[in-house]
């Protein structure tokens, strides 16, 4: 069985992460309950003829993937596997409202075509002329991890050599409005740096795209090795600790082997308890890190956590802004990530220095 390496990254988020030469040097501290991404200059990456029909999410996905390809020094990949929890919500909203507002008349195809969940994956394939394997996973907060798992299986079996894997979700006005109504979005603006003290239900909604070239061949640019990923559709708070330690045991590791634990806390007092179990339990003496105050919450936000872990291992540096506690660590060799959203679709991911 082959090893699986993260050979490159490409990130578009609420922070200026599209420049791979930087690593959270200047943090943008928001005070809001919805955060948009900091846009790169999309035109530098997508020709106008191709860009004219693309909604934000598609542009983010295509550009993040192009940044990842450049970073890996590749012209193309063997396969493209995308995760998106909500899909192309802007075009979906546009088409549904057009149906209702115009009573099914004078409808045009563009927003319908662009609304399908696999639009980003399809557009990347079209841009790259990549005729290989192309999947899109759409399973809530496990969308990105599903893509990751699929890629990992194929690389381990040497079915493919370089696979582009990513997570992307975009904000849509109507989607935001209705998620405020059901308290999935915080009722008040929150300062990013005080997210975990917000003491309210819901999350700060956001958008983003994080793409990676995974490969079974290590190269100079490699960031880390992906050693394991495991998904759970359900877990109770009482089961979290055992699930985490079992996961480590399956990979011949103990809690003391973990240099950093990266958690998906989003400040939702109803659901952050899952993270607290690990924070105050077996990992209380482990360096803990969080990131959703920087990128906000969306179904594929965990791909930002994956980006963060990759950066930490490659640069061997840990930005102050992401620390949840202060445990002195000589080096960062092994990182465990845990994420869930609203108590469902939990995942554990393990990265190792390579």
């Amino acid at each position: 069985m082959k090893q699986v390496y993260i050979n490159s990254i490409g990130s578009i988020s609420g922070q200026k992460t599209f420049d791979n030469n930087e690593f959270l040097n200047d943090i943008v501290d928001y005070e809001d309950n919805v955060i948009s991404v900091i846009d790169p200059i999309y035109k530098d990456y997508i020709p106008p003829a191709a860009a004219r029909r693309m909604a934000k999410g598609i542009k983010m996905g295509v550009v993040a993937s192009k940044i990842a390809l450049q970073d890996a020094g590749l012209e193309n990949v063997d396969a493209i596997i995308t995760g998106t929890g909500m899909g192309c919500v802007r075009d979906s909203e546009k088409f549904v409202s057009a149906i209702i507002d115009n009573d099914e008349q004078y409808l045009t195809p563009t927003s319908f075509i662009q609304s399908t969940h696999n639009t980003v994956g399809g557009q990347i394939a079209l841009e790259l002329q990549c005729k290989g394997y192309n999947f899109t996973y759409v399973h809530g907060s496990n969308s990105f991890e599903s893509a990751l798992l699929d890629a990992k299986l194929q690389l381990e079996n040497n079915e493919e050599h370089n696979i582009l894997v990513g997570g992307v979700d975009e904000l849509g006005d109507h989607t935001v409005t209705i998620h405020k109504l059901i308290n999935h979005i915080k009722p008040h603006a929150v300062k990013s740096s005080e997210l975990l003290k917000s003491n309210s239900v819901g999350a700060v909604f956001a958008e983003g795209a994080n793409f990676f070239v995974l490969s079974n061949e290590k190269q100079a640019s490699s960031y880390a090795e992906v050693t394991a990923v495991k998904l759970f559709n359900t877990l109770t708070k009482a089961e979290i600790t055992k699930a985490a330690t079992d996961f480590l045991a399956e990979n011949n590791l103990e809690v003391s082997d973990i240099d950093i634990l990266i958690l998906g806390n989003n400040g939702d007092i109803e659901h952050d308890g899952y993270y607290h179990e690990l924070q105050s339990g077996p990992f209380k003496n482990t360096q803990q890190v969080y990131y959703k105050h920087l990128c906000g919450e969306f179904n594929t936000a965990s791909s930002f956590g994956f980006w963060l872990a990759s950066k930490i291992i490659k640069t061997q540096s840990l930005p102050e802004s992401v620390k949840l506690n202060n445990i002195k660590q000589a080096s960062f060799k092994t990182i465990l990530l845990y994420n869930q959203y609203r108590g469902e679709n939990h995942s554990f991911t393990l990265l190792k220095q390579c």
Partner: protein, 85 residues
């Protein structure tokens, strides 16, 4: 006819999100599809809806659009002859 042609150019640019273009960039006899403006089959469907909505012309078969949408000239001629609004 000239006013109609100008109107068509403006509508096409807006409807098809040809952001970097202005009406002056489109000559009346420019090929709209293929090597000309580079429009494709999805644009053709958009133009069919435009004919219906703006000029009351209903096409039922997308193939009919090919000759009509060849250029601004051919579109304007067809609309002038068949418009119901």
């Amino acid at each position: 006819m000239d006013a109609l042609k100008q109107e068509l150019k403006e509508n096409i640019i807006e409807q098809l999100n040809l952001e970097d273009m202005s009406p002056e960039d489109i000559a009346n006899d420019d090929m709209l599809f293929g090597d000309g403006l580079g429009l494709d089959s999805i644009d053709a469907l958009e133009l069919i809806v435009m004919l219906d909505k703006s000029y009351g012309i209903k096409l039922t078969d997308p193939k009919e659009g090919r000759a009509i949408f060849e250029s601004i000239d051919t579109m304007a001629a067809y609309i002038t002859e068949h418009r119901t609004k």
